[in-house]
């Protein structure tokens, strides 16, 4: 087995045993980026020098057995929405071309403290707005399982990197499914923690009340390790929670015996591919065989989650993106005869079509005279969705469903139809609106394309989500299947 094919925990053991060095490991991953990077287009920027410098520092730490942590020396990819001090951070947008933040995101600082190795910035839909990565301001990402297909989005670069061996693990961000959906479509594990579990400081905002950073990994235990490193209160993010962070690995192996697992009937949506539905039903049966009590539940407002999301998220985005006016950093069009012309030219040329669409949607929804009918109404719907989950979680410990109604679709298949594209997130969006956590774990292949099982647990019960996902994973071999680009695990 090649080094870039392994898990965090495997590699950690090899590193502390001095079987390998972090530099060797980093070079192995860098070689893989070199070999397949032009096919996946997963990275916007590969930080070779930084990675090797960090790897050498990690090796010092490992050699002297000084403050060695689970991620010391482990190469990780960072979605381009995360600010890294002195490293170009563009959120996949041309409007931030040339922007190098003078500070790092809190999660980045925490990973640095762990001694992790930063491989680079991964491609994503512009400002994390999209479900296929085709809205990147630079270039689309290709799915390592089938290069003519999308990897999902918006964290498509992170997903493709982990699935192709171009990173051992990655961080993504999830506003309406942007970690879980690409994880499902590329056959990896993607975890959206509860809003407030991970600091958003230094995450270039899309929709502030929904954005959450989370791990994208090869398996569930790696997800627990990575979440452990980044979770916890941050005084710089007032919306981060001071709930204590439990030891996620400690309860991982407790199994599902005696657990009550709910299956929301609304999650088997119209348009779900039969192979996906079959795979999810099989997964549910398997968990039942593992000793879980399965119960059908109802989340009655699921059908209005998508429309509510497409009011709230664009409304917040329209405001969050107002700062990109070309006067202080990033792209400036130039040539305007006055301030307004200059603003307009910069934003016209700097933003892509989907971003503009959402800015217009959001601006409209917040406008005087429309606020009550749209934004306020959507917030009421959000409350109902929160209550739906609270109600369901009085009966069950976690919920099961598909992550995405379909497998990876061909590039270009939905670019002309925004609503078809939005429907990709129909089963992931409720977890963002409902302030709960959700993890996607591989549960099968359909025609050689991965399918993801979604486990949703109550707010701040990441331990429960991980436990169910881990029980499923250990009972199956799905996570061991790897993309053709990753190569056979020989």
């Amino acid at each position: 087995m090649r080094l870039f094919q392994r898990t965090i925990r495997d590699l950690h053991q090899m590193l502390i045993d001095r079987e390998i060095s972090s530099v060797e490991l980093t070079e192995s991953v860098m070689d893989q980026i070199q070999n397949v990077g032009d096919r996946t287009k997963a990275y916007l920027l590969v930080t070779n020098e930084l990675a090797l410098r960090q790897a050498r520092a990690a090796d010092d730490r490992l050699r002297s057995k000084r403050d060695v942590r689970p991620l010391t020396g482990i190469p990780i990819a960072l979605k381009d929405v995360l600010c890294v001090k002195d490293v170009a951070s563009t959120a996949g947008s041309k409007i931030l071309k040339g922007f190098t933040p003078p500070y790092s995101a809190t999660v980045v600082e925490r990973l640095e403290a762990e001694g992790a190795v930063f491989l680079g910035k991964t491609n994503c839909d512009e400002f994390a707005m999209g479900s296929s990565n085709e809205n990147s301001g630079y270039w689309p990402v290709h799915n390592p399982w089938a290069l003519d297909r999308v990897p999902g989005g918006s964290s498509g670069g992170s997903a493709a990197a982990v699935a192709s061996g171009e990173a051992i693990c990655a961080l993504g961000s999830d506003t309406g499914g942007s970690i879980r959906q690409p994880a499902a479509l590329t056959g990896i594990v993607g975890f959206k923690p509860t809003y407030g579990r991970v600091s958003r400081y230094g995450l270039i905002a899309f929709a502030s009340s929904l954005d959450q950073i989370g791990p994208m990994t090869r398996d569930v235990a790696d997800s627990a390790v990575l979440l452990q490193a980044i979770a916890g209160h941050d005084p710089r993010d007032s919306t981060s929670s001071s709930n204590p962070v439990p030891d996620y690995l400690a309860s991982l192996r407790e199994g599902v015996k005696g657990m009550r697992l709910g299956v929301p009937k609304e999650y088997f949506v119209a348009g779900m591919e039969p192979a996906v539905e079959q795979s999810i039903r099989d997964a549910i049966r398997l968990l039942e065989q593992q000793g879980a009590a399965i119960e059908e539940v109802s989340l009655p407002h699921s059908d209005v989650a998508l429309p509510a999301y497409y009011i709230i998220a664009p409304a917040e985005a329209s405001s969050n993106l107002a700062r990109y006016d070309g006067t202080r950093y990033g792209f400036q069009a130039g040539g305007g005869h006055n301030l307004i012309e200059e603003y307009m030219a910069t934003r016209q040329q700097g933003f892509g079509a989907e971003v503009k669409r959402r800015i217009m949607l959001g601006t409209y929804a917040l406008s005087s005279g429309y606020y009550d009918a749209y934004y306020l109404q959507a917030q009421k719907v959000r409350t109902l969705i929160i209550e739906d989950f609270q109600q369901a979680f009085t009966k069950v410990d976690a919920l099961l469903g598909a992550t995405s109604p379909t497998v990876a679709f061909p590039l270009g298949a939905k670019t002309q139809d925004p609503v078809a594209m939005y429907l990709n997130d129909i089963i992931t969006i409720p977890a963002n609106l409902g302030n709960v956590c959700g993890i996607s774990v591989p549960c099968g292949l359909a025609d050689g394309l991965p399918i993801g099982l979604q486990v949703i647990a109550p707010g701040f019960r990441e331990d429960t989500a991980l436990r169910v996902a881990y029980a499923f994973e250990t009972a199956t071999e799905f996570h061991k299947a790897s993309s053709p680009l990753m190569g056979a695990a020989a």
Partner: protein, 483 residues
């Protein structure tokens, strides 16, 4: 003005007051924007860099609640921040964090006097927001090739104090702002400096036919940087609106800027182009629960406010309401007065000096009482000299001015004393003899070794001389005579 009979003037004021905190509203940067080099006090948060997040400065919230309590407002238990969205280069995030429908306070009132007549103006709300940066244009704004932005001011906490349209004249408006400024200074939340913009005032002015309850078309006036400007601008605007209405014209709802040099208001923008600020709750900041315990703590820590102090000055010191109002108009002046009285000066005389000669000199120099070299002890001593007949009233006026002009008032005071001091041994001999004759016991005590007795004897001689005797010479002469 005859206008008052035909039309009723309706004025409401919006006062912006920077909060005197060490650090900014949502980050740790210093609030010093007046002396720091451009953009020195900035960070990713107040520059609105991508990914940065605000954290509320608790002290700024406390100052806002403190202000609201001083203005008799209700403090709701639940409050939140909102985003006010608009584009401008001095606004780094493209929105200002402000408060919209759930401000920290509402429903208060402010009492003030106009020429001794009591008035009350309703306070709609006091809320908290962040200040913007400052633009610097190269030359005139319309010809300037480039504009520079200084973000040192961006994120400085700013309170907005909105009044009800309860004011009926330029006089009332000016007195309201003066009284409000006094309160802000009393409670230590703002330094009251209008010139540097730390206290700013906008006025909504409208007219309606006398007797009509419906409000007329309002005009917002901005850019008034002094009490005088507020008064002049409102007077001007009332006159302008009267002319329009008398001429059968209709007023436009608009914003007008006061041009102090030309003494007139100029239209800046009309309602048709009014911005839609698209307010919505700030998702980066959780709503705030304002605990009753916290509010009680803040209330308990409030100092005596101008209105209460004014009442106390009337009852305790027997001052006229007019004098009491003037003396309590700023906290430093009231404190100066009380300290002078505490040192032994009569209240009425102290008030006359402070409101008379002292204020005249201060006003001429545009200085504040706390910046003057004359301190309460100096004034008390001067008053004592007059009261004991050492110097005449006329001489006292000259002495006061000399004290005021000097960086150290002591020599001027000493000189006044010296001019009338009795130092000649011949003159003092009589005094000394008299004191020895009248205080046989003390003389005996001193002979017996009680040094204290000599001090008493000197005191008696000073008293007889009405303070004019030279105490050093008295000391020498007494020792000589007794031994």
């Amino acid at each position: 003005m005859s206008v008052a009979t035909r039309y009723e003037v309706v004025v409401g004021l919006e006062v912006h007051a920077q909060v005197l905190t060490e650090s900014k509203m949502f980050c740790g940067c210093s609030t010093d924007y007046l002396t720091a080099p451009p953009n020195a006090n900035t960070c990713p948060v107040c520059l609105g860099l991508p990914g940065s997040l605000p954290v509320i400065n608790r002290r700024a919230v406390e100052a806002t609640i403190r202000t609201a309590l001083a203005l008799n407002c209700e403090i709701p238990e639940f409050s939140k921040f909102d985003r006010k969205n608009y584009f401008y280069p001095d606004l780094p995030k493209g929105y200002q964090i402000s408060q919209y429908d759930l401000p920290f306070s509402r429903h208060g009132h402010l009492d003030f006097d106009v020429k001794g007549e009591p008035h009350r103006c309703g306070i709609t709300r006091v809320h908290l927001e962040e200040d913007t940066g400052k633009l610097l244009h190269e030359g005139a704004i319309h010809e300037s090739q480039a504009s520079l932005v200084n973000f040192n001011r961006a994120g400085v906490p700013l309170m907005e104090i909105v009044s009800e349209p309860d004011l009926r004249s330029a006089d009332e408006a000016r007195e309201y702002v003066m009284r409000l400024r006094a309160i802000l200074q009393y409670i230590g939340v703002n330094n009251g400096d209008m010139e540097s913009g730390q206290l700013r005032c906008d006025a909504n002015v409208s007219l309606r036919p006398a007797g009509q309850s419906e409000l007329g078309t309002k005009v917002e006036i901005k850019n008034m940087n002094s009490f005088r400007a507020i008064h002049r601008a409102i007077e001007y605007e009332v006159e302008r609106q009267t002319e329009v209405l008398d001429g059968g014209g209709r007023l436009t709802q608009e914003t007008r800027g006061w041009n102090d040099a030309r003494g007139l208001t100029i239209s800046q923008r009309t309602k048709e182009f009014a911005e839609d600020y698209r307010y919505f709750p700030e998702p980066d900041l959780p709503p705030l629960d304002v605990s009753r315990m916290w509010v009680d703590e803040i209330r308990a820590s409030l100092p005596e406010l101008p209105a209460a102090r004014r009442e106390r000055f009337i009852t305790t010191y027997g001052l006229t309401p007019y004098d009491a109002s003037l003396l309590t108009s700023t906290r430093p002046m009231a404190q100066f007065f009380e300290e002078t009285v505490r040192l032994g000066a009569p209240a009425k005389t102290s008030a006359n000096w402070i409101l008379g000669d002292f204020s005249r000199l201060l006003n001429a120099d545009l200085r504040e009482i706390q910046d003057a070299s004359v301190k309460p002890a100096h004034l008390q001593e001067l008053i004592a000299l007059i009261d004991s007949g050492v110097i005449s009233g006329k001489m006292a006026k000259q002495t006061f001015e000399a004290m005021y002009r000097a960086s150290d008032p002591a020599p001027a005071l000493a000189e006044a004393k010296g001019l009338s001091q009795i130092s000649g041994d011949a003159e003092l001999a009589g005094l000394v003899d008299q004191v020895i004759a009248e205080n046989a016991k003390s003389v005996a005590d001193f002979k017996a070794g009680k040094a204290q007795a000599l001090k008493f004897l000197i005191g008696q001689a000073m008293k007889l001389s009405k303070g004019r005797a030279n105490p050093q010479r008295l000391d020498a002469l007494l020792r000589e005579k007794i031994s």
